[in-house]
Symmetry: C2
Amino acid sequence: MKKSLDAVFYPTSIAIAGASPGKSGQWFLDSIRTAGFMGTIYAVNPKGTEVSGLVAYKSIRDIPGPVDFVICCIPAPAVPQLIKDCATKGVRTISMYTSGFSEIGTEEGRRLEREIVRLAKAANIRIVGPNCLGVYSPKIGLTFASDFPRRVGKVALMGQSGGNTSYLLRASSQRGVRFSKAVSYGNAADINETELLEYFGQDAETEIIAAYIEGVRAGDRFHRVLADVSARKPVLILKGGYTKAGGEIAASHTGSLAGSAEIWDSLMRQTGAIRVCSLEEMVDLLVTFALMPLPKGRNVGVFGAGGGASVLATDELTLCGFKVPRLPEGLVKELMGRFGNTAGMIFKNPIDLSMVGYSEGFYDVVKRLMTYKKGDWFDFGLIHAGFGQAAWFTSSAFDQETAQFRDFVHRIHRETDKPLALVLQFLITNWDWLRALELQRGCSDAGMPVYHSMGSAARAIDRYIAYHEGLKKPVKCA
Amino acid sequence: MKKSLDAVFYPTSIAIAGASPGKSGQWFLDSIRTAGFMGTIYAVNPKGTEVSGLVAYKSIRDIPGPVDFVICCIPAPAVPQLIKDCATKGVRTISMYTSGFSEIGTEEGRRLEREIVRLAKAANIRIVGPNCLGVYSPKIGLTFASDFPRRVGKVALMGQSGGNTSYLLRASSQRGVRFSKAVSYGNAADINETELLEYFGQDAETEIIAAYIEGVRAGDRFHRVLADVSARKPVLILKGGYTKAGGEIAASHTGSLAGSAEIWDSLMRQTGAIRVCSLEEMVDLLVTFALMPLPKGRNVGVFGAGGGASVLATDELTLCGFKVPRLPEGLVKELMGRFGNTAGMIFKNPIDLSMVGYSEGFYDVVKRLMTYKKGDWFDFGLIHAGFGQAAWFTSSAFDQETAQFRDFVHRIHRETDKPLALVLQFLITNWDWLRALELQRGCSDAGMPVYHSMGSAARAIDRYIAYHEGLKKPVKCA
């Protein structure tokens, strides 16, 4: 198993079947070339038409060199012949973008899917899909979208939907998460959820596993593997088709048998896997699991501007099981000495620095608090900035201060030995997003977790700590 | 009461005390002038320095004409003298931005607050605040930020935090909500939550009431008024300082006595007010209550591109109590006849139009389904578009199609008699936000509710329907 999946994630030469100008095959071709795939790339189309400046072959068999990986973008009825050609050529893996198999719900679709699996098995070829986007393996520059990151990380992602997998890759990588490998595996006709999970469980490059799963084929085996892998690595699972109605759509989407919510609940409870309720939550959890050093406890220091924001942050953190402990008396006195009992500032915890803004004084105070050594009054820090709250954020001053703020946060992050996260919240206009994403980029690149609301930060960090505490809290979605 | 609050929301002449160049008073002055306040505006500062091109008076008493509304931006110790001057001048309302009263937690702060209330009462002057941003009354161009909308609507908003109130105004108005009036009322030393609620309850221009409240002064009276007003208009309340720790910060923020979570829970349960858990949720609920005609039932038609998005949408809607009923047989046949059993499309419900994109074919299909008359197979429609999911959204084609898509949605919205909402989701990059907000603007202006995730749409519409069904579902935050 391991060997054949190694071949899936580390091919040395790729042919794209159906790489005709203007078709999906060209899109895959361009993506791989843009990503700088380290092996050889061949284009194949029935007329041998040049595509993206590349000579195309009329058949896989016409390719002069060896080919171990084929991306299949030709119509479903032509796939059996392609597999036969691949067998002749010694291909190890076919990643099948082609759809029109079991998911369309016809007898012919199911028959065709059985046939391609049979043909591939006989030739010792592994199929990814069909009806999927295939493989992302940043170590060798293999991808299915040119905007996925090229840097390698420690998260492995398997997703039964191309769109959902793409979103998870894009959204979490924009927030600093990097991947060891990822796969959009569609109908799972050959390589399925259990095999991928087992492989990622053994993979030395993978420390965290994320999955979007619509159906499970061999329930008992999946249960055993999930329990085994979850005992060693966090496995985060978003189940698509959790409800009966959703399961019916999953059947039309990937031909999956979704199983009942009760079975799924008990599976998650028994194996120690981490239940995720939405794609957005998955991104928040990946950011946390991948980037945040584990806080030693649940005491949090909260720093930012805004009295109302400080009140709500305290509520939201408290409701998620955190403590927002009072500032030690020594620090209160120190801050009072510096600023006076200034109207519009709060020196408890949260520290509300409204009158200071995110200036040099902000850096001084937060750094002082994050590095205060007398007693461990908190275990990790949260800096928040609310864009749509303050007129200040819409002033030109903020434009000048964005870079300065980012530098402050970086310096504090480097100079403290406690975990530090950033909440860029209350984002409304495109102006807000432009600046928030600019700040986020700098902080994510430096390895800081960034969130877009206090509530989502609190929930994600709670789940993270609870996982490491071995607490199995019941998770109820919606 | 009504008369004195009418004077708060409809003054005819305003003086800004502390309108010195570069200070907060200038900022209030500029905001009101930019918003086109319909009455007279006077600047006051101790040196009589010209500000924003306006002659300034050294004292309120020096102003030649009548003044009925004063925005107070001078330091706290100088406020008693200002009130005396205002009494001489016949001022009706002082909106007090000045902070440094009960919220700083000192005896002197509390004493000063009591004194200004006593002075104002004696002179028949009403105080908004102190420690607040004051009044937004779009009908007459009174505002505390120049970017709030000038068009009048049916939502009244009262908020005990200037930042939170500003965010709610900005975020919900960007999504099409318009306000009859709003007030940031800070420490509530004089005009408080109960009086405002009663006034909004009687206000013919207000149909929906939203409140961010940190503390309640006269609990019994508030209870009675809330029950009375909630029986006639939806009252949405976000309680800041719901937790004990949050309540302590509320005390430092607005000098509020927050009360216990148990008391608050029972108050909300008994009065029929609508409990809101976060600012973000408040915006989603305001968008829904203000813009969405009440669906006749819980059957929803879901239209968009993306198989995985369709599966998750079905789950999220089902978990919130909606039905995503199968497409009637007649429509399935009609669509099959048009498109064939095309791989990559799903003709159940959700309708997954991946292969059509958001083109003319999309318009045809959605319009056909939204206006299908044989049997009421659904009660309202949701169109979703997932920006970070599909490579298509990052292609230049989408740039050209954005305007077309917006026009399609407008046309469908006009041509159907069923409620229709839009979910612009999976937004990642600034590119995504730029285009999504452009789409949103067009649709919000046309009166369509727009959401940023399927989950938040499902939760908000569920709360809306449940409110009108008279269902009192228990709401648990976090």
